[in-house]
Symmetry: C2
Subunit: 193 residues, 2 copies
């Protein structure tokens, strides 16, 4: 429903451009709503903005974990588990598997939900699954400098890219012996930008 409105933004603006020369949005509370939104002054279109989902996985192969060194900002050169923004028309688990394929050229089987990590400061929700390599091969994808398997004791903790990566790895370690468990949950309360 709302996704359709998004597409409508572009259509609406294109349509308006025939009549008006200047896109113009005001900040106001739409009727029946409770928060201020960006509303088009010409057509009333409401430009809703909602948090984004980041989906990823802790990929296990034998006793080792697959990490990727980031080739892109933010945190270029730091290590992460495969993770990224969820795409339209996929599921959370399919998105996690896609990220493993894109960032580490790894085909994985996605298992249980490991962790739910909120980052309200930047309106993100991170979901991490446990996964395992379906075949031994992997490599560096477009956004990765280097992909590598680490024993737990070898993990470069100070060089991890994000707090949610550390959280996901710790959730993995705490639940590795179990198939059924409650996912770890935490919020990033930091004020840093």
């Amino acid at each position: 429903m709302e996704a359709g409105k998004r597409a409508g933004l572009l259509q609406g603006l294109k349509g308006n451009a025939v009549r008006v020369t200047k896109p113009s949005f005001s900040t106001r509370v739409p009727e029946g709503d409770s928060l201020p939104r960006q509303v088009c002054d010409h057509c009333g279109f409401v430009h809703y903005v909602n948090p984004r989902l980041v989906v990823g996985c802790v990929v296990v192969h034998e006793s080792r974990l697959l990490l990727c060194r980031r080739a892109i900002e933010p945190r270029r050169g730091c290590w992460t588990v495969p993770a990224g923004f969820m795409e339209e028309r996929e599921t959370t688990a399919a998105g996690a598997a896609r990220e493993a394929l894109e960032e580490a050229r790894a085909r994985v089987e996605v298992g249980p939900l490991l962790a739910l990590y909120n980052v309200p400061r930047i309106s993100q929700v991170h979901l991490f699954y446990r996964a395992r390599l379906l075949e031994p091969g992997f490599g560096a994808g477009e956004e990765t400098l280097e992909a590598r398997l680490f024993e737990w004791d070898e993990i470069p903790w100070p060089e991890l890219a994000f707090p949610s990566v550390r959280f996901a790895l710790r959730a993995y370690a705490a639940t590795r012996e179990r198939d059924v468990f409650a996912p770890w949950q935490d919020d990033d309360d930091s004020e840093a930008v």
Copy 2:
């Protein structure tokens, strides 16, 4: 990061409007990306679209569950648990509590994660928590015709608004005796619009 780009859409268009009269977006794969996106022909702004999170809760009071009859489309007149689109700068649990307050005027304490339900057809991810009333009062919010407590045997199953509501209620029933459990997960594979 991407949230900033969203805001930039409006700024970018406003900026461009000084020079050009017609907003114009093309569908193409941005450099370093793998999927076609809407890209501004003037400034190169990429209009990313991502799935939305719906957050809600199964609210328990003694042995009964709190349902709301919807005052708005879609599915006006049908019953739902309090749930809605997550807002910027809140956490998933805070969003679920906010929806209980907005739709059922109910102050709740949010408990464990009950269910994760993907609806890829419309690019939505639904997260439901178990919650309990903090005080006995509740009522119909702006988007609600009527809020009511139901015993399990009284739930109007054929009049539930969405498959995810049924799924969340079943997840609640299956886990009600436990404090620590794996959330139920399912995908809506239907093709209906």
